[in-house]
């Protein structure tokens, strides 16, 4: 095995830290993210309350601890992003594999469907769908998952076409492997690299979409914390309480930058030609 470059290890480390913080939020938060206190409204970062202790990142307009809310918000972001990437990956890759393997009319239908989906702005479709079926965690995952699959289909289709014509696929076919076995054991592993790169960049996008929809009030519903809704609420107090927009903003920015850089590095690793450009 080749050793991973330092940059990838660092980025993976940062992502892992975010992930662990999100996963362990219920056990590591200093305060209940939903507990309101009118006496502690809009306190700046570092405020120490004699009874409740330290509010490291300050409090919001309802006196809730910002750090706790950001940690819980990260949980929501990760959950939505992971699940919706999984949904779109499953849908997109199966369609792309089928199109690349069976070709002819299967490919025509699949790729025209992709063209159709790509001609509709995903965020608009998501807004529309949420507006119709109503907001909520599961709806959000499904809406994002079912609008963001076409990129996987394109990549999977092109890679499958390429891999399917290779001698080792014919060899397996002549050794008696059926379509399911060929696709799952021989084609899929050989096209996983480019799909992983797409999935990484989509993961970053999903985090942004979740924040965006929640910001618009179409995603995670209050009082449950989400970076989008924290930002949205903090917007009204941006002159009096800067910390309400700056900290979740930094979190969102750092996470998405990390994910995107990781995606670029992975692409360079998996396709050495693009690194030299």
């Amino acid at each position: 095995m080749r050793r991973l470059p330092v940059s990838i290890v660092v980025l993976l480390g940062v992502l892992l830290a975010f992930g662990i913080a999100a996963l362990l939020a219920p056990w590591i938060v200093p305060h209940d993210p939903l507990r309101q206190s009118l006496l502690l409204r809009l306190k700046p970062p570092g405020t120490v309350d004699p009874r409740q202790g330290l509010f490291a990142l300050g409090t919001d307009d309802l006196g809730r601890d910002l750090l706790s809310r950001i940690l819980y918000g990260a949980r929501a972001s990760f959950a939505v992003a992971i699940l919706s990437v999984a949904v779109s990956l499953a849908v997109g890759v199966s369609l792309g594999l089928a199109a690349g393997w069976f070709r002819s009319w299967t490919a025509t239908i699949a790729m025209r469907l992709v063209d159709t989906m790509l001609s509709i702005p995903a965020i608009l479709l998501a807004v529309l769908t949420v507006a119709v079926i109503g907001p909520g965690f599961l709806d959000l995952v499904l809406v994002l998952g079912l609008t963001r699959w076409p990129r996987y289909t394109r990549v999977a289709y092109a890679s499958t076409l390429q891999v399917a014509s290779m001698p080792f696929i014919q060899a397996s076919e002549m050794a008696g492997a059926g379509a399911v076995r060929l696709l799952s054991r021989h084609v899929l592993p050989n096209i996983a690299g480019p799909l992983l790169v797409v999935a990484t960049s989509e993961f970053g996008l999903m985090i942004l979409f979740e924040a965006g929809l929640s910001f618009l009030g179409l995603g995670i519903q209050p009082p449950a914390p989400s970076w989008g809704s924290i930002l949205s609420a903090g917007r009204q107090y941006v002159e009096r309480a800067w910390w309400l927009t700056v900290f979740p903003g930094i979190g969102l920015f750092a996470l998405v930058v990390c994910v995107n850089l990781l995606g670029d590095l992975l692409r360079d690793q998996l396709d050495p030609r693009s690194a030299r450009r």
Partner: protein, 325 residues
């Protein structure tokens, strides 16, 4: 598998394949007995690889089977359902190819690929793979099981392919130019290995090649193809000693020999193979043949018995001796 059928392992009867109406394979027939190596020889485009693909029922989409039967241990391959044919591949009929490195999945270990046709898992699979790898003479087989194709040399990769093809004890192995991508010393080893495995396991081998040297090394019988038809067939020693078709005679004469004067001109067969669209209904070799006569351009010569199992499709088979080198 224990064989109850006593006829040929593979029999091809009157096979006609066409691409866009042009008959690229035109009435080929042959049989391979268990333990026998039959070489199908011919130049590029004569239809030998298509015949092999037809024999495993995996023809490219553009090729149409007009006629003909493929009998595998007596069972008609084209009378079966696709699902049943798939179960036969790798188990009763296997194939190995020209580029062993490319024919192995780069992301699967040697062990996983060799085990694929057995359907076994875990310990049993490992034992079977280890035994098979030992049988094909790979050095350090226990270590190879966990290796990936990029860690193998060409010769080793071809041995792995052979192990993959033979592990389920098929009745017939089709070897499509198995040594073309290998250097000559490795080629000799691989041919010897195939020869030995055919004899030990009673596997019939259909060897597709363009190399007369390979034929002489390994085959029991040879079928020389020209422009989609069999020109001549018979035991290798017979055909090489006394070819009964001018094409065979000229092919043999074209082989460079160590006794040739250095840098002297190589013998060639004048002219080119006709395109399938231009195949003549009479003798297709007529335009390049030194013995050509009136009848050759008018009538198709049948495969006629020359005695001792040698068959030749030539009107002037008796005079072929006069053009031998």
């Amino acid at each position: 598998m224990t064989r109850s059928f006593t006829g040929p392992a593979l029999e091809v009867e009157d096979l006609v394949l066409s691409i866009g109406g042009a008959p690229v394979v035109d009435g080929i027939g042959f049989a391979v007995q268990p333990g026998e190596v039959l070489a199908l020889v011919g130049e590029s485009g004569c239809g030998k690889s298509l015949t092999a693909q037809a024999a495993i029922r995996l023809l490219p989409g553009a090729v149409e089977r007009q006629r003909g039967r493929i009998l595998l241990d007596g069972d008609d391959l084209y009378a079966m359902r696709e699902r049943d044919v798939r179960r036969l591949r790798g188990r009763r009929i296997s194939m190995i190819f020209q580029e062993p490195q490319a024919a192995l999945d780069p992301l699967s270990t040697v062990g996983a690929q060799v085990a694929e046709a057995t359907g076994l898992r875990g310990r049993a699979a490992r034992d079977a793979v280890l035994a098979m790898l030992t049988e094909v003479g790979i050095s350090d087989p226990a270590r190879r099981i966990a290796q990936y194709p990029f860690e193998l040399s060409g010769g080793m990769a071809q041995r792995v392919m052979i192990a993959t093809a033979l592990i389920a004890r098929p009745a017939i192995l089709i070897a499509d130019e198995p040594t073309t991508a290998l250097d000559v010393t490795i080629q000799a080893q691989i041919l010897q290995l195939l020869r030995r495995l055919a004899a030990e396991r009673g596997t019939a081998i259909l060897l597709i090649t363009h190399d007369m040297g390979v034929v002489a090394d390994i085959a029991d019988r040879v079928a020389v193809m020209y422009a989609g038809r069999i020109a001549e067939t018979g035991r290798v020693d017979r055909v090489f000693a006394a070819p009964a078709h001018p094409y065979t005679a000229l092919l043999l004469a074209a082989l460079p020999r160590l006794t040739d004067v250095p840098k002297s001109e190589l013998a060639v067969i004048a002219g080119q193979v006709p395109l399938p669209q231009h195949f003549s209904p009479a003798c297709r070799f007529a335009d390049r043949c030194p013995l050509v006569g009136e009848r050759c351009r008018a009538e198709r010569p049948p495969l006629a018995d020359r005695g001792d199992g040698q068959l030749s499709a030539c009107w002037h088979a008796d005079h072929v001796g006069s053009i031998a080198a």
